[in-house]
Amino acid sequence: MSATTAGAAPAPRRSGSLARERRWALIGAYVALAVFVVFFMLPPFHMLITSLKGSAEIADQTGNPWMVRSPTLENYRDLLTAGNYLTFFWNSVMVTACVVVISMVVSTLAAFALARMRFWGSQTLATGVFLTYLVPETLLFIPLFQIVGSLGLINNVWAMVLIYPTLTVPFCTWIMIGYFASIPKELDEAALIDGASHLQMLWKIFIPVALPGILAAMIFAFTVSWAAFIYPMAYLVSTDQMVLTVGIVSDLIRADTFQWGKIMAGALMAALPPLLVYAFLMDYYIAGLTAGATKG
């Protein structure tokens, strides 16, 4: 209180300099933002430009590579009508859908048990789940190659449905433990008094209340399985079994001929599903991801 009255006399000049300072800070902020947005958007933009060019225009080195002179959709048309691109796309969709469902079932059940029902070793298990999340897939792909081989699943797209949950489930469980633990215990007590079983409690109370968290976990599972690269790279060989991330490279690069127009068109269409998901659901995902950082 005394500070404000003491500062009242020289207020006009000071507030003027503050406003000027703030304006300069804002201008600086926009300049920095513009620089980084340009840097961040250059590759996707160039991807789009290249995908609209015919092969003659791509091979022509005289013009500006950042502009398209005679835009054409032939790259997209070729990909969607001939070749294996649709197979890759369908395989990716199928694997991702299965992995999201499996991850959600496994991690919701486990997170409910770990958040609400203490049992022998539950603390250790919760810590173990988090540590598993920190194990990178590049540490395990060679022994898993042997294991997948002994199951007879090398070069089989279903092997991905088996393995991808190791990438998604630990983190999904971890964020859902956080969301479930924040639900007030009074709700469970009310349900228990009404005679609800544990599964009813999970289905009727926990899942609806923690829906934002579940959505965040789903987006995570989707992102990871759509983008997974090393497992399909190592285990899938023939084009009918491949997913998008490896299919584009292996199918459109024959010996030394790079069909850059088609590669870029294929890459852009492969990037579209995650871009759309984030465009609509980004806030849920960021809230889930940063829950630990902001709570409290």
Partner: protein
């Protein structure tokens, strides 16, 4: 014991660890106790069944493969004979592998530092904007992180193409000569770091933005009243408040970057002359492409000690963080 009873009696509705109302300890009858025991037993059975898929998944596809990798790494190339630590000593004696270790460390450390720096700057810049415009800018800045890296690296590959490089075309506009992005060891090392920074900086940005938003405004107001400059506010308010988040994200990103595969594999495939290989791509080349599974397993196991140290520190940071939040 009596203190605890008193504490429980003082609370309106004592709640047991399982979420069930705890038995009033003052009058424990035999029948009641046995029933409670039965419920507890049933509860833990249900809980165990609910976690069983998770346990099977982690046990069968993470823990077992890891132990199997240790076993594999001690076999000879045709997997017929036990050779102990020969694979590890063989690798350490090879110059290519020494380069791989060095390159992995340089790649991870420089990429993470740059990502953290850019993320920190961008988070501050976004935080300074009026909240109306923030969302659109944030959306644009998140694009690199949303596109799967195996896909976006294709775009970078094309940008760095030796004869059609669109980046070199831009540089020529500034009068700079053509750069052999992927053809020369130094530039190729720079290129993989650049692409990794491009992909990972937005992650730091959103983590730091969330942390910045959780710093109470009163602290800055108090600092402003004390006449603190911008740098002083950064040094004495922002950094101490964000210290934990910064260390968690940096350590986490060190793990992920250290174990990176996609970017190096697509952009350079380890070349030129094996100068950009990191552990994962080298393990892939040795283990899967050349078919020497035991040697490949030993290459990727070399990552483990370092990753384990990072993981312990991440866990410690998270525990401390949740204690702070709880308090």
């Amino acid at each position: 014991m009596s203190e605890r009873d008193a504490a429980i009696a003082a609370r309106p509705l004592p709640v047991g660890p399982s979420g069930l109302p705890a038995a009033p300890a003052a009058q424990p009858t035999a029948r009641r106790a046995s029933r409670l025991q039965r419920i507890a037993r049933r509860n833990s059975t249900i809980a165990f069944l609910m976690t069983l898929p998770l346990i099977l998944l982690i046990g069968g596809l993470v823990v077992y493969p890891f132990c199997y990798a240790v076993y594999l790494a001690m076999l000879n190339k045709r997997m017929t004979r036990f050779v102990g630590l020969d694979n590890f000593t063989f690798l350490l004696g090879r110059e290519t592998f020494q380069n791989v270790i060095w390159q992995s460390v340089v790649f991870a450390v420089s990429a993470v530092l740059l990502k953290a720096l850019i993320g920190f700057i961008l988070a501050h810049v976004l935080h300074a904007l009026p909240s109306r415009g923030q969302r659109a800018w944030r959306g644009m800045l998140l694009v690199p992180w949303v596109i799967p890296p195996a896909i976006s690296t294709l775009a970078w590959w094309w940008l760095f193409d030796p004869s059609y490089s669109a980046v070199n075309w831009l540089l020529a506009g500034f009068g700079a000569g053509p750069i052999p992005w992927l053809g020369e060891a130094g530039w190729a090392r720079f290129a993989v770091i650049l692409v990794n920074v491009w992909y990972g900086a937005p992650f730091f940005m959103i983590m730091y933005l969330a942390a910045l938003k959780s710093v109470p405004d009163q602290l800055y107001e108090a600092a402003a009243i004390d006449g603190a400059s911008f740098w002083q506010k950064l040094r004495y308010v922002t950094l101490p408040m964000m210290r934990n988040i910064i260390s968690i994200t940096v350590l986490f990103s060190l793990i992920v970057t250290f174990a990176n595969f996609d970017i190096v594999r697509i952009l350079t495939n380890g070349g030129p002359q094996d100068t950009t290989h990191v552990f994962a791509t080298y393990a892939f080349q040795v283990g899967i492409q050349s078919g020497d599974i035991p040697l490949g397993a030993s290459v990727s196991l070399f990552m483990f000690p370092l990753l384990a140290v990072f993981a312990v520190f991440v866990l410690r940071g998270i525990n401390r963080r949740s204690k702070e939040i709880g308090a």
